[in-house]
Every structure is written in C-alpha cells, then in structure tokens.
Amino acid sequence: MHESEPASAMELGKLLFSDPILSGNRTVSCASCHKENFAFADTLALSPGVNGRLGTRNTPSAMNMRLQESFFWDGRASTLEEQALIPIENPLEMDLPVDSAIARLNSNAFYQQSFLRIFKENPSKKSLAKALSDFERSLETNNSPFDDWRVNDNEDAVSASAKRGFKLFNTKAKCIQCHFGPDFNNVEFRNIGLFDGRMHVDSGRSAITHKKSDLGKFKIGSLRNIAVTAPYMHNGMFKSLKEVIDYYDNPDLIIPKAMNRDTILIRPLQLTDTEKLDLENFLISLTDRRFLK
C-alpha cells in the first residue's frame, strides 16, 4: 500500500525505485542496491540480485546523474531513460523482462491509475523509463563542505588539511586530470590499471566499443559523496579512501603487470603520509552534509 498518490513522474519514479514489483521474484528493487543512506550506492563490493545472484561490478551511486553523458561503468547507456530499464532485465539484478514489468504495472490498480493520471496513458516502457529517470535526476547534491567553502566563501567550512588536499588534488596528485567539473568526473573512460588479463579480467569499455584501445577502461566516477560510497572502483576492490590513495600513489605495488594503464599513472606520485591524509580530508569534504555525521 502506498501512503499517497504520486503527483509527478519524479514522485512516481521514487515509489517504483523502492518497489520490488519490478523484479522477477518480487524481492529486489532498485533501492536494494542503491541505498539512500549511502548516497544511493551499496556497501558491498558486488551486490546480490534476485535469488542472491551476485552482480559483476560495484554498484555506483545513483546520485548526481543529471549532468552525466553516459551510464554504467562501461558507458553502455547514453541516456538516463535507457539506463533505467537495463537493471530490470539483467538476470543478475532484477531479472524481469521489461514487457513483463509493464504488464505487472498495468494489472496493478494503483500504478495503472498513477500512470494514467501523470502520463495520460497506461504504463509503458517509455513512461516507466521517464518516471525512474526523473527520480534519478532529482538526486542532486550541492551542499558539501567544499561547496560551502567555494560557493559561500565560508573559509571555516573545510579544514586546513582539506584545503591543502585540494591543492594537491590539482597539482602533485594529478587527480584533477580526470576528476573535474561539477561532479568531479568527466565524460571520458580511462584505464587506471585494474586490468591485467590474469587476476583482473574485466575488459570494461572495450566490451562495448570492441576497440583494443578501450581495454580496461571504465567511466570516471564522480567523487561527490565519496566518503559514503565505499568500496571503490568498478570491482569494489578498495575498502577505504586510504586504500584508493595508496593505489594511485604507486599502482605497481597493487597490480604490477597492468595492461594499457593510463600514462598519467606511469610514475609513482610519491605522496607523503601527510599529503595522503590531506587528500583524504579533501575528498571527504566533497560529501554532502546530509551524509556527514
């Protein structure tokens, strides 16, 4: 039972996002893996879908999607509408053909009436995608300590350590070369060295483009709300920001024979322990106040 009738596509999408009606055995919803308290990401390296089947990649945050140009770690969807339907059909996630999902919604009086009222038509593939994507578009965050510092000139919003970390981020640590813009990512796909063809075999973007040059490349992730979206990377292999920073500092110590690793990471950064801590504090400052305790 739903408490109130949704008044917009966004509100309808919010209900659907948390409703297991969209999974094959009615046990899993989008919210099962995209957990609100963790910036709509998951705390597990790989999330279980229907019947406990594990996915193959770490659940990315569903927040701050509005300005993105591609979706999923390999960028297989180019619109949020396209993205919204793919997990429903994925056998490892919700495992329900979209046509079956539409049939379910049409036979559910509450949803059938809600779609009719909002879209002036019965539930369809297009309106389902519109509702879910409108909800995702509403999940923007712009109230981090970093924003407060830069937008409101509030010098006390972030610590001196975080300010030093921001400078490092822009210079010695080279993070800015990939993580820039309003969500601290960009539209590119990069190989940060997590593909070696032996232990680490997810080929990433190249499975979509079939280009050898895309081997091991993944979408550059947003850094907003990063403090609450561990574990990190497409495979969730790093449990903490400290581990992430240690990796970037010297990738060869973790994955020595990476293939096609980006030239930005060709040499160790040689960050000191203090610099690593400053970077970590800066990254934490990118997390919205609603998630910072």
């Binding site: 712009n142 830069r150 937008v151 800015i176």
Partner: protein
C-alpha cells in the same frame, strides 16, 4: 635655475602620483557574482561566476563548485587560469561590459578546449547583493 628646479619637482611629483594612481585605482567592475541561466533539454543550468578582489575566481553550476582559478585584467583583456586545464597556462578573453549590468567574454587566445567552449561568447549578468 630655480624655475627649472621647481618644474622638475612638479613633473616628478606628477610622475609619482600617476604611477601610484595606476596601481591603486583599478577597474573593480568585475568583482562580485555573475549569473547565466542556460536552457538544456534536461532543465535549466544555473551558472554563477565569482570574481574576488584577491584575483581568484570560481565557477558554480546548479550550486556545485566546478572550477577554481586565478585571473587578472589589463584594459579590456582578462587572463584566466584554472583547474580545468594546465593551471600554469592562462587563456585570454576580451571582456565587454554592456547594458549596465552585463558582461561578455570573447576569446582572444585559449588552447584549453573545455574552457574555450564554456567561455567564448559567454554573456553573464551581475547578481544583486543579498
């Protein structure tokens, strides 16, 4: 001799005053917040640029800080360096104040593609102080 001495003192004083004036009186019109609402298929983008007296500036989109850098102005030319590209490199733009509360940017030279695409032809409006 006395006349010449007085003339030199006066000219010297004028020179010193002119020199001092050129460094203490600057064009402060750019200081403050400038705004542009850009329509997109996914809804409006609310862009704000903050130019500060300490020669730093920030760009903000929909309340999210997205760019941070330094600038300096000479006559009608602004030089900008920010973290969207090599921070040591300055792109240059011609700035023009118009309609009492608006400002436009026209590229003179900028090899930073991202910044050029955002700044060339940009027109912003001065935001009123709250």
């Amino acid at each position: 001799m006395t006349v010449m001495k007085n003339t030199l003192i006066i000219l010297g004083s004028i020179a010193i005053l002119s020199f001092t004036f050129s460094f203490t009186v600057r064009d402060n019109r750019i200081l403050g917040r400038w705004n542009k609402i850009q329509k997109t298929p996914d809804g409006p983008l609310d862009l704000v640029f903050i130019f500060r007296a300490d020669s730093t500036y920030d760009g903000i989109v929909n309340g999210k800080a997205f760019i941070n850098g330094k600038y300096f102005i000479k006559n009608d030319t602004i030089s900008v360096s920010d973290n969207s590209c090599n921070i040591a490199y300055y792109g240059t733009y011609r700035i023009k104040y118009f309609a009492q509360d608006s400002l436009s940017f026209t590229a003179i030279s900028d090899t930073c593609k991202e910044r050029y695409e955002g700044a060339h032809g940009l027109r912003v409006k001065k935001m009123q102080k709250k």
